[in-house]
Symmetry: C2
Subunit: 116 residues, 2 copies
């Protein structure tokens, strides 16, 4: 999509710290990292969000996770552990509506959500 | 696996609050919920973790997400938003080594990880 930030990262029109490219995926560092390793894995073709999964090729979803696991190895966090996360909607805190998988690691990540 | 807690939930040998069954998935409430809605989605057949994805049928992974989205609708959090999460290893806080996808929602979930 012409006005999508992440599509522009895929096309190279907006710079990003790309760490890995899969056949159909791009992995780049989050501009506002929440952990020592915080990388986003996106499909190169525009998919809006995870909510309506089922309309797409299941292999793309699996490739996103394979890319994440490969990047975890590259970043040296595969053995220590990591978290893989999709956010959807306001409560999830989704900000860019191009599907992105968060890879977080590099320290003990602690609770999955902040307690109220 | 005979000594796997989640395999025993699938088989019914250990009780759980099952909310939905997909063709190859089971969704049940987390026994220690971290949010108003906290449900685990697992494949019925034993898969240890997400780290070595690639050895399995990609459709199973997609079905886990489809199950999660269906459950989000059932729980009334599809519009408000939610978080879908895999943890791997010690830093991720993985506890049971039968692949499970966390569905979290029902309130603003806030930061993805607790800041140090």
């Amino acid at each position: 999509m012409s006005d999508c930030l992440f599509c522009k990262i895929v096309s190279g029109d907006i710079p990003a710290q790309v760490v890995y490219n899969g056949p159909n995926t791009t992995a780049f560092r989050d501009i506002n990292p929440q952990a020592p390793v915080h990388i986003l894995i996106i499909p190169n073709h525009h998919i809006e969000h995870i909510r309506d999964w089922g309309a797409y090729d299941n292999n793309i979803l699996a490739e996103m996770f394979q890319t994440a696991n490969t990047v975890a190895e590259m970043e040296g966090i595969a053995d220590s552990g990591y978290r893989l996360m999709f956010n959807y909607g306001a409560d999830g805190g989704m900000e860019v509506y191009h599907l992105h998988l968060h890879l977080l690691g590099g320290r003990m990540l602690g609770p999955m959500v902040v307690r109220q």
